[in-house]
Amino acid sequence: MNLVGVYRAGSSWLHRTPAGVKVGALVLISIGALLVDSPWIAAGLLLASLAVLLSARVDLRLLRRPLVVLLLLGLSLALFMWWQQGAGAAVVAVSRLLTLALLAWTVSMTTRVSDMLSVLLRVLAPLRRVGVDPARVGMTIALAVRSVPLLLATVSTAQQARQARGQGRSLTALGVPVVVRSARIADELGDALVARGYDPDED
């Protein structure tokens, strides 16, 4: 499962909020969450972010698997922190972890990637003076987002092929086809950029 490019059009207040506000709030809240060391406040923050996620009225089925992975991560963090620093610290650490994840999911489910990119471009604009070309950065990131589903499919096809050949565990049997396919996808994508008139030196 993949939470990249999961944006679906919607009409909740979160969909209407400008991308810059959401991304900025994500930064501020997540840094705020790190400064909190009261278990009560941390837990409150977690509940608040859960409420925010639910208010986006998005398809929650997409989150099933990520949630399982995240909760496992939270569980081992809780045990570790409890053992190391006691229950209060465990609550803070786990709430922090979950808050960050839930808010990031909310942002990516209610914001177009292109809108996130325009925010990034604005933030990077000052770096133009030190030789960073924001347009090129934006292009690279958009292409990476586009490529994620292609690469997830590549990995899963290679995994199936290795199983079909009766070698379910060999990592070379997974790695070599994945790399070869990735290189081919990169070549094809480069061809497409060139053929479609992309010029990295303009914009």
Binding site: M1, R61, T157, A158, Q160, A161, R162, Q163, A164, R165, G166, Q167, G168, S170, T172, A173, L174, V176, P177, V180, R181, R184
Partner: protein, 225 residues
Amino acid sequence: MTIRFEDVHLEHAGRPVLRGISADLTEHRIGIIGENGSGKSSLARTINHLHAPSRGRVVVDGVVAAQDPKGVRRKVGFLFPDAAAQIVMPTVREDLDFSLRGLGLSRDERAARVEASMAEQGLSAHADHPCHLLSSGQQQQLALAAVLLREPDVVVADEPTTLLDLRNLRAARRRFAELRQQLVLVTHHLELLEDVDRVLLVADGRIAADGEPAEVVARYRRMMA
């Protein structure tokens, strides 16, 4: 050899893709056709348990796929649409040898079988060539050779003839026709179905027609009109 689908259901990301497929495949050669996205590849992949049905089961020659995936994969060889996806080793010889791993053969025995297979497929001259510099037709040949080396009882081929020229298409067709194994062939190349004994038409995750190739293909053509 019997491939039995018993009320097979399958979902991808919560969306039903197969909605109750039941059939007994006993013929030597079976074709599967249907529109893009109808579920052909998904169905083919349940045969060797690359996909696990959410309901129902697949039984190959008495072996329940879900209970013994390794067992069915010994019986069933699988060809993917893109031959490059199933070539795992750097050179032709190594890739063929890879198929013989884990079968308890001696080094010499393996080498001998690989040589024989290359000779049979006309790949000997390319033994030490990087696989991905071979032509599409040759890669397709290599993929089939690698599958046959494991001596499966059934070969499932998912659109194995895309991008082939007339000569390679004809050669592939001949190779499939000569196969002594049972063959399940998913394809959009309708002329390949002249060689099969039975055709299943898949539509929206169900079997919409099943029978004589000529009849089922005609039905498909009408459906697509």
